[in-house]
């Protein structure tokens, strides 16, 4: 087996163990709570009989490990149960709300990589100079506020005082929503050939995605900088400098490459944080994602929906981390070339 495949198998198997752990954890938390979820779901006017019936249907009177057994059996069939809040299968609900959230997080991730890493490179190249200090303060400010604070401040500045961007929503109300194919509005409108919808959606996503990305941008810039500053002390950089290579080429090619790997690891972790923080940004911009659903089901103690939402978010996070690990394995010559030698 090539090293990359071996890594993939190892990471996948560990992820499965972790995901089982996550399901047990969230399942336990969800079932030991005070209050009767069946009673909450049916409301105060339901009869005791109706409540008993629902309790029976949800297996709430069985011991918790048996309840977990039922859950695993249904999960194997791709069934996460019915949401007590929307009365629809949890999988349907998640399939409806997840794409909007993922779209937001992916665009924010692009901002994070596209702005954070170049800022870090610039900061390291001009280390100790004014440009470096300015970038460092900006990135520290980015890390220093929860994304809802940035969301509110950006909205105030660029939607109210300078009306450059729309205040809320995913697409302009006057446009017909493009046919739902993937659920990702940007992709769907392109597939539809509807460019007006595409630009409207793009216009709507920039501000929330940027608010979500700000702390990630700061993190990526800080990390890239600190790794590169370390690399700058290495003899091979001195050699490149004494050859008279341009400073820009040294920064972008020789000093940056080794620091790409640790930066990517952190970017994977930041992606997870953004999946959580998307809840905050979505609340500010009335974004029709998983957030409103998530907060509603949590407030209503909707067991199936809570377990399902947390599981899906965790699984997404694990998948992103596996992708990052594979990317690192591919970029890292020690792993990539070992594969070539082995086959």
């Amino acid at each position: 087996m090539s090293p990359v495949v071996r890594l993939l198998v190892k990471r996948l198997s560990i992820s499965v163990i972790v995901l089982i752990g996550v399901s047990m954890l969230i399942f336990t938390i969800a079932r030991v709570i005070p209050g009767d979820p069946a009673r909450i779901a049916l409301g105060p006017n339901a009869t005791t009989e109706q409540v008993e019936k629902l309790r029976d249907k949800l297996h709430l009177d069985e011991p918790i490990y048996i309840q977990y057994g039922y859950f695993v059996r249904d999960f194997a069939k791709g069934d996460l149960g019915v949401s007590l809040y929307t009365n629809r299968p949890v999988t349907t609900d998640i399939a409806q709300f997840l794409p909007a959230t993922l779209e937001l997080v992916i665009v924010a991730g692009m901002f994070m990589i596209g702005l954070g890493i170049p800022l870090g490179i610039m900061s390291a190249r001009f280390r100790g100079k004014a440009a470096d200090n300015i970038i460092r303060v900006i990135s520290l400010l980015g890390v220093s506020a929860p994304s809802f604070v940035w969301a509110v401040i950006l909205m105030l500045l660029f939607a109210f005082f300078l009306p450059l961007f729309p205040i809320a929503g995913q697409i302009s109300d006057t446009l017909p929503v493009p046919q739902r194919i993937t659920g990702f509005l940007l992709v769907d409108s392109l597939l539809d050939g509807n460019f007006r919808a595409f630009f409207s959606a793009l216009h709507h996503i920039i501000l929330p995605a940027f608010a979500l990305a700000l702390s990630g941008i700061g993190q990526a810039a800080r990390l890239t900088r600190s790794n590169m500053v370390e690399t700058y002390d290495k003899p091979y950089i001195e050699m490149a400098q004494s050859f008279g290579f341009p400073a820009r080429r040294i920064a972008n090619r020789y000093a940056f490459r080794p620091s790409l790997i640790p930066s990517l690891t952190i970017i994977g972790l930041d992606f997870a944080a953004m999946l959580g923080n998307a809840f905050l940004v979505e609340a500010v911009y009335a974004w029709p994602g998983l957030s409103r659903y998530g907060v509603q089901v949590i407030l209503r103690k909707d067991l199936n929906a809570i377990v399902g939402t947390v599981l899906v978010i965790s699984a997404t996070f694990l998948i992103v981390n596996i992708i990052v690990d594979l990317l690192i394995a591919y970029i890292n010559p020690r792993i990539r070339l070992a594969e070539r030698g082995g086959s």
Binding site: L25, L140, A273, L275, F279, A283, T309, V310, S314
Partner: protein, 277 residues
Amino acid sequence: MRRIFYILLSNPLSVIGLVLVGTVVFSAVFADFIAPFPSHRGAVVDFSNFNQPPHWPNIFGTDLVGRDVFSRILYAYRISLILGVVVLAIAVPIGVTVGLAAGYLGGWTEFCLMRLTDVFLSIPPLVLAMSVMGLLEPTLTNGMLAVTTMWWPWYARLVYNVTRSEAQEGYVLAAEIIGASRLHVMFREILPNCVPSIVTKMTLDLGFVILIASSLSFLGLGVQAPTPDLGSMVAEGGNYLPDSWWLTVFPSLAILIAVFGFNLLGDAFRQVLGSDQ
């Protein structure tokens, strides 16, 4: 100690951090004396003076029931700091013990403890805290519990990494050879060498606990009214943008200033303690 202070004071950014953190802590501790309207921390109503823009004596304006925003921010700082200190006081010992045990004992202990840590780390922190908080009743105690459950794994992982490299050092071997118990090696030999990393992280984390706690209450899953909280103040004011901008802008800046201060100070500690090693 003097050397540490000298290095701290020689960097302007660290001084700014020290001043910001000092101001935040001072205003939280002495809120009773500084706040112009101490009673406004609770459920006070003053409809004759509601929703006023900043003016004297309400320098940050008044909220929708006429309470002084500046006074409420000071008391919100107090709640946030108490929450941060309590969370770290519980989460750090748990995380440190798990990390030490996993890193030093190895084998099945390591496998089980670190997989458990992975489980907690693979739920986005905010989502984990939200679930805990939503399923329990939203109170200050439960808020601390919710944030603690998501916080200890980070210390477990940090200490685990340091322990793994320290366990290879000669002094650990020497202690083992003279027959020191495992507990002695873990807590008396290895732990002191983890302290610089732990202290640095704790300083940074005081800021981040404030950040997470305000995020929870922003979503309505945190400290409940009438207790003042920066997150819920922003959430409440967000409905009245842009006209009543002071309701959101000042609490937002308050969060930013506090977390920024702790970050600057944490960075300074990292430089000082890093160069000491």
